[in-house]
């Protein structure tokens, strides 16, 4: 059984990546924070007695399921909103399809040194490119390369075959590389 300290250390290690991963998927920082918090609490409540070595896989499964719950709730909410908002303007984001493109927004400070600015811009481009990826490709890429899971672990976390993981990862890397080249970023 994991101790409180082990749980704390594990969460401290993964929480930022989990937030970013969720933010790429749901495109809303506040919702992403809520989802990560829910996932943390579920891990502590339901799987606290498991050894800490199982936490990465468990946490990823919980995070993915919590994201899916979020999308289901959004779908239901959007249905009701659409039905009852015929008198209001429809200029907000009423389509929350994760596969859609988000408008770019470079949030970096303009007074940073040139090198840092370029790096920040590159990161922003990559993050936008990640958001544009199909959900399964993004999930596979993040688990395989960012969470540093092997192919088998990624397949188990995603609930698909290892072959599918390899295909998703390969396509994701090629798409990201192509996007970077298109933006003039050196690979």
């Amino acid at each position: 059984m994991a101790t409180s300290q082990e749980l704390s250390d594990f969460l401290a290690e993964v929480e930022r990546r989990a937030f970013k991963q969720t933010a790429y998927a749901v495109r809303d920082d506040h919702a992403a924070l809520d989802i990560v918090q829910d996932a943390m609490l579920k891990l502590a409540q339901s799987y606290g007695e498991r050894p800490v070595t199982e936490y990465p896989m468990l946490f990823q499964r919980i995070l993915q399921n919590t994201m899916r719950d979020y999308w289901r709730r959004q779908k239901v909410r959007n249905l009701w909103t659409t039905l009852f908002s015929s008198f209001t303007s429809n200029d907000d984001d009423d389509e929350h399809d994760p596969l859609e493109t988000l408008a770019s927004a470079n949030q970096q400070d303009s007074n940073e040194p040139l090198e840092q600015l370029e790096r920040s811009q590159t990161i922003a481009i990559i993050e936008q490119a990640l958001q544009k990826l199909p959900a399964r490709q993004r999930e596979a890429f993040i688990l395989r390369y960012w969470e540093d899971m092997d192919v088998a672990e990624t397949a188990a976390a995603m609930g698909c075959s290892q072959g599918s993981v390899k295909t998703h990862c390969s396509r994701a890397v090629h798409t990201l590389a192509a996007m970077l080249e298109k933006q003039g970023v050196e690979r």
């Binding site: 409180s4 924070l33 943390m40 409540q45 590159t122 990161i123 590389a177």
Partner: protein, 129 residues
């Protein structure tokens, strides 16, 4: 494949750099969520100390017996043999004592003595004095 892996690692390296520039409010919120999760785990553990202890003890005992099954079987057979031996000794010893008492009592007065009319008269006469 290697090219693909290197590209992925380069991208991940840049993403890691982006993590260090997270907004302080987001970092604080994540730390708060982490703290809540740790507190929840501590409460969860404290709320079931007896159950956890009992189950842990039973699991340990089961694991121990399962791991030493051969030795446990041999010890059980030896125990049964020992109990059987002690019980046999107890029962047979009691019977031996009874037999010994009967023999000694019978030895004091041979059966012929009870058939002798003169001895019977002498016994009555001597017991009066």
């Amino acid at each position: 494949m290697n090219q693909e892996h290197e590209t992925a690692k380069k991208i991940v390296g840049l993403l890691d750099q982006g993590l260090t520039k997270l907004d302080t409010k987001i970092v604080a919120r994540l730390a708060s969520a982490r703290s809540q999760a740790v507190t929840l785990l501590a409460e969860h553990v404290q709320s079931q100390p007896v159950t956890v202890g009992y189950h842990a003890l039973m699991r340990q005992a089961a694991d121990y017996f399962h791991g030493h099954r051969g030795w446990m079987s041999a010890a059980l057979v030896c125990g049964v043999i020992l109990v059987a031996f002690v019980a046999t000794q107890q029962l047979s010893g009691k019977q031996t004592v009874e037999q010994g008492d009967a023999f000694l009592l019978a030895s004091e007065l041979p059966p012929e003595a009870y058939l002798d009319k003169g001895f019977d008269a002498w016994l009555k006469h001597s017991s009066r004095h």
